[in-house]
């Protein structure tokens, strides 16, 4: 143990002999009443009104999206299946490329 460690150990030993700062550990008069009143002044923990409304809105939006897809299913499917050759000629670039070749 070097001198610095030895002196540190002596300092620690001295500090341990210090009396505890305050003996009275009981709650001060009125403290418990005040804390209990403050604790119950806030509403019980439950989801906020905004949170509950947001959840409902998200559920309704999801249902509406599904209903919209179901109602337009034929049209959507038709759009993907429609691969008529005339579509290719709508593209002016491809027309120019075709002419050049």
């Amino acid at each position: 143990m070097n001198p610095s460690e030895k002196s540190w150990a002596r300092l620690l030993a001295a500090a341990r002999r210090a009396p505890p700062p305050a003996a009275d550990e009981a709650a001060p008069f009125g403290f418990a009443t005040r804390v209990a009143a403050l604790a119950f002044s806030a509403p019980a923990s439950s989801p906020s009104i905004f949170g509950r409304l947001a959840l409902r809105a998200a559920a309704v939006a999801a249902l509406l999206a599904l209903a919209a897809v179901a109602a337009n299913y034929t049209a959507i499917r038709g759009a993907f299946d429609d691969t008529s050759p005339g579509q290719a000629t709508d593209d002016p670039v491809s027309e120019v490329v075709d002419l050049g070749s």
Binding site: P3, S4, E5, S7, W8, R10, L11, L12, A13, A14, A15, R16, R17, A18, P19, P20, P21, A22, E25, A26, A27, P28, F31, A32, T33, R34, V35, A36, A37, L38, A39, F40, A42, A44, S45
Partner: protein, 196 residues
């Protein structure tokens, strides 16, 4: 409530969960000694102990639904107390360094005495020695400070610190090792500054 009757913690908690204000008061009075001991040993500068204790109790009531009984209730509360103290210590600026000029006359005498004399410091100077160590602890991070406080000043075991803080024993040992090394460095620097 008579003092000789054992405190029915489980019953009291049930009543508090049903928002019984009287039960909440009884719970605060029952736990106050435990909480105030933690607050007093880690009290940040310029923070009133009653304010800090109140914060701890309010957190306890807010989080009561999260208590599942996996650890004793007193351990759960002491973890809230320790975490709240650490948060408060983190909020206050750490002391950048400690110089001899920052020490009181008695602290300087105590330091001189431990450096030069082989004899122990007189019991009258114990408070000054403790103050001096607290000034050195102010140089550390809150978690390091807490582990030194428990381990070297209060001489608690690793298992006890683990229960109080919720840190696993390995983490406590690692933190203690690093914190002691940092504290030794600060102490050495303080002594060297005096010599130069």
């Amino acid at each position: 409530m008579p003092d000789d009757e054992p405190f029915d913690l489980a019953g009291c908690l049930d009543r508090v969960r049903k928002r019984d204000q009287m039960a909440a008061r009884e719970l605060v009075e029952h736990l106050h000694p435990l909480v105030i001991r933690i607050v007093r040993s880690h009290l940040p500068r310029r923070v009133a102990e009653e304010d800090l204790a109140q914060d701890i109790f309010l957190k306890m009531f807010t989080r009561l639904d999260q208590y599942k009984g996996e650890v004793p209730f007193t351990h759960w509360v002491s973890r809230i107390a320790v975490t709240t103290c650490i948060d408060q210590l983190r909020a206050q600026k750490r002391r950048p360094e400690l110089r001899w000029a920052d020490l009181s006359e008695t602290e300087t005498q105590v330091l001189d005495s431990v450096i030069t004399n082989e004899n122990d410091v007189s019991p009258d100077d114990a408070v000054a020695a403790k103050e001096l160590i607290h000034k050195l602890l102010d140089l550390l991070k809150p978690e390091d400070r807490l582990v030194i406080q428990y381990l070297d000043l209060e001489q608690k075991s690793i298992a006890e610190i683990s229960e109080l803080t919720g840190w696993n024993p390995t983490l406590v040992k690692v933190r203690a090792f690093r914190a002691r090394r940092k504290l030794q460095r600060h102490y050495h620097e303080l002594i060297e500054r005096e010599r130069t």
